[in-house]
Symmetry: C2
Subunit: 189 residues, 2 copies
């Protein structure tokens, strides 16, 4: 979309679903979604089968910018250890913003409590790609057990963003030494 | 309550709120809660100011059994390292049950997205007592930085229960080596 084009009803609904679900939860009503998007319910149901499908599509649409906000550029000259730490630096930095509520894909799955929900499936897939990134870097970095390290880093990622999202902890002075110890234990120098 | 006594309306409401909120989320309606408890809405509102207060009271009521399901007995002869690992063994074991949805106190805070909600405040306080347990054991175990270790263990606890709760990972072969590496790094042998 160029700056000249006006966002379509579809764009506005996807944006409203992403924003409101993140801020208020997946229980957000169709009325509120349509009002925020400035779209009639009739139009919404012409564009999406259901609110569930709209929610799933909104998560899918955010996936690229989410990855771009966390992952280092391919072949940026950083070592695997630095590339892994880079992701956690981004989370630490993002978690300082007042609107931060943790990882949207983790929250959606916790809220829906239904692994077969279309939005849970999308969220699950997107989060798996983060684990795959960790797995690749772990292997490149010579980790003694790349699968284990990728699972550990995913666990720390979710624990850190969840705790910062609910205000149980700040991530300063916490994430970097935690990830550092796990990288050390795996032999990724 | 002895086995002879029938549960009161209050007991049944607290039980229904705990069960339904864990299984379906905090968005569960008053109708469904009252139906599950076999209590009229009129009675519910005589016993609790609001659904929010009922939810907060149900979390409070579970706190003791929750702690008992996770923490080792006081003075059980285990070392601080063993006492910390004990907590994670319990989570690993609990996460294998089909009804497991992660830590109820984390989920409630993620779902409510409102730190001032009475249920969020109760959940926050109960989770702080787990961090305090880790802090005490870390200090007893001679951790180089007991505050940091307690924060790290809380982070791993939440990451592990969240990921197992949504089915992103099983905890087998994951939590024990993760906690072990952090205890090693802190010098808790």
């Amino acid at each position: 979309m160029t700056t000249q084009e006006k966002p379509t009803s579809r764009d506005r609904l996807l944006e409203a679903a992403a924003t409101l679900a993140y801020r208020e939860g997946v229980g957000i009503g169709v009325e509120a979604l349509c009002k925020a998007a400035g779209v009639s319910k009739r139009s919404m149901y012409q564009l999406f089968e259901s609110k569930d499908d709209l929610l799933a599509a909104s998560l899918e649409r955010q996936a690229e910018s989410y990855a771009a906000s966390l992952l280092p550029a391919t072949g940026d000259g950083r070592s695997p250890r630095e590339r892994i730490l880079y992701v956690f630096e981004q989370v630490e930095s993002q978690s300082g913003r007042p609107e931060f509520r943790g990882c949207p894909y983790l929250a959606v799955q916790i809220e829906l409590k239904d692994r077969d929900h279309p939005a849970s499936r999308v969220a699950h897939r997107i989060k798996s790609s983060l684990t795959a990134f960790f797995r690749t870097e772990a292997e490149q970095g010579g980790a003694s057990d790349p699968d284990l390290l990728a699972r550990q880093l995913s666990l720390v990622f979710d624990g850190a963003s969840a705790r910062a999202g609910i205000g149980a902890d700040r991530l300063t002075g916490l994430v970097e030494p935690t990830v550092g110890s796990l990288l050390d234990a795996a032999g990724v120098r």
